[in-house]
Amino acid sequence: MVYMLTYGGGLVGGDAVDLSVTVQPGVKLVLLSQGTTKVFKTRLGRRLAAVSSHPPLESHQISVSTKQNITFRIARGSVLVLLPGPVTCFRDASYDQTQRFYVEHSGSVVALDWITSGRMSMGEEWLFSRYYSLNEILLDEIRLVKDVMLLSSGQLGKGIPDRTLKERLAPYSCYATLFLYGPHLRDVIAAITSRYALITVFKTREPTELIWSLSPIEPARHELEGQGVVVRVAGRTTEMVKDWLKEALSGLEAVVGRNYYKRAFP
């Protein structure tokens, strides 16, 4: 079990994290973070000297994005359980994340990628400027899944009323995407799939507290079907999503051991 740490408890504009993780054959790795990944406001690309004396004549303020780029290699028969805390982007933050999972035959991967609306305690809700997240899973170089999400604020065009991120994502304040793939996860996938089949959607007056969907992973090649699922969850609070995930993934206890699993969702 490994915790990923960030310096000073968060990432600031201009930070670029490049990480490579290799899981050797037969190894089971639980990869967690300490709490949420905080992304601070984008620093403006202005030199310090300009701040001290007089304001610059022209403000060449170039916003600098925060980037995180992680490559995972999951060898034969090994398991990667990636269950970090959610990403929290502060007001005006700009964040780009790319995660690529190279899975070898008979390897398995659990990958959770989730985001909260911001610092609710400060009244910040979906006020960051950009959140970009790319997750790609490849099995022996064949692409199984490529999921790219971009949440950004800004008007579409002149004369068109702006619909803010908050309006588009309400009433939920936490969104999660979960990928489950590989032979070690057969029972976990079966459990969550049968749970999904029990849902019947009726017309409702109020949106539910938590909503989720499940789709099977169907790569271009038909023979690779039936090995994984993609789950998406949205909840009114981060806590609700966390509790739901903890329960839905409890079958992982049998895969990585109870003591390790319980630390994923403290």
Binding site: G157, L169, Y172, I211
Partner: protein, 232 residues
């Protein structure tokens, strides 16, 4: 209106543009094979990027229907007595028919899926539409389908739907085409016609993305509805 503004899915247009470009470039019979290979690559990428299984199902159904429309209804008839077509044009349409029939066969053999944006790009290029018209029409038809669904759901009436299409959807489609017209998939056909290959492709700026996670969840849950009024 919520579904129209902002459009929640900018994935498709990159595929329309790339499929259109490669089919529009097809200028000799020898290159039919390599064009096919590229189209299948595009189709595969679209399959792996469309994670919502309901959308995948609808997309392949409509894609194949478009190709059938071309080969049965829009391709040149075998012979119409007394009419002559310039031979270059005749060659072109025959080549396109060959390509489209071969692509349809691949779909039937389950060697590829035949997704709507890829098939739309193929169809519009085969009909000689410019890439700009193809992109615009694709988004316009998307907006029209959303409104037609709203009419079926009895949320709005048919007259209101027309008004919205003309006064709300139009500026939205204009703005969206403007924003997405240069999006590409990043897959490029590598041959002597395209010596500059993916050197300049910036995935984060030019790649296809989805922009509305709530929409993804809602759309994926379609099959769980107690009563359904849509076919796909």
């Amino acid at each position: 209106m919520v579904f129209l503004n902002p459009p929640h899915h900018t994935t498709a247009l990159a595929f329309v543009s790339d499929a259109h470009a490669v089919v529009a470039q097809l200028d000799s019979d020898e290159r039919v094979g390599e064009t096919m290979k590229y189209l299948i690559e595009l189709d595969d990428l679209y399959q792996s990027m469309t994670l919502n299984h309901v959308a995948r199902r609808a997309s392949t159904g409509q894609g194949v229907a478009l190709l059938t429309l071309y080969s049965k209804g829009l391709s040149a008839p075998p012979s119409v007595t007394g009419w002559s077509t310039p031979s270059a044009e005749k060659e072109r349409t025959e080549r396109l028919s060959t390509l489209i029939d071969a692509f349809k066969l691949k779909i039937r053999l389950e060697a590829t899926r035949g997704h709507l944006p890829v098939c739309w790009g193929i169809l519009t290029a085969a009909l000689g539409l410019s890439i700009e018209r193809s992109q615009y029409l694709h988004l316009f038809l998307h907006a029209r389908s959303l409104l037609s669904a709203a009419v079926r759901l009895n949320d709005i009436g048919p007259y209101a739907s027309q008004q919205i299409l003309l006064h709300v959807a139009r500026p939205l489609v204009d703005a969206e085409v403007e924003r997405c017209k240069s999006l590409r998939t990043g897959l490029v056909l590598k041959n002597e016609y395209n010596p500059m290959v993916d050197v300049t492709f910036d995935e984060e700026a030019m790649g296809p993305v989805s922009t509305w996670p709530l929409g993804e969840i809602l759309a994926s849950r379609h099959d769980l509805q107690h009563s359904r009024i849509f076919n796909s």
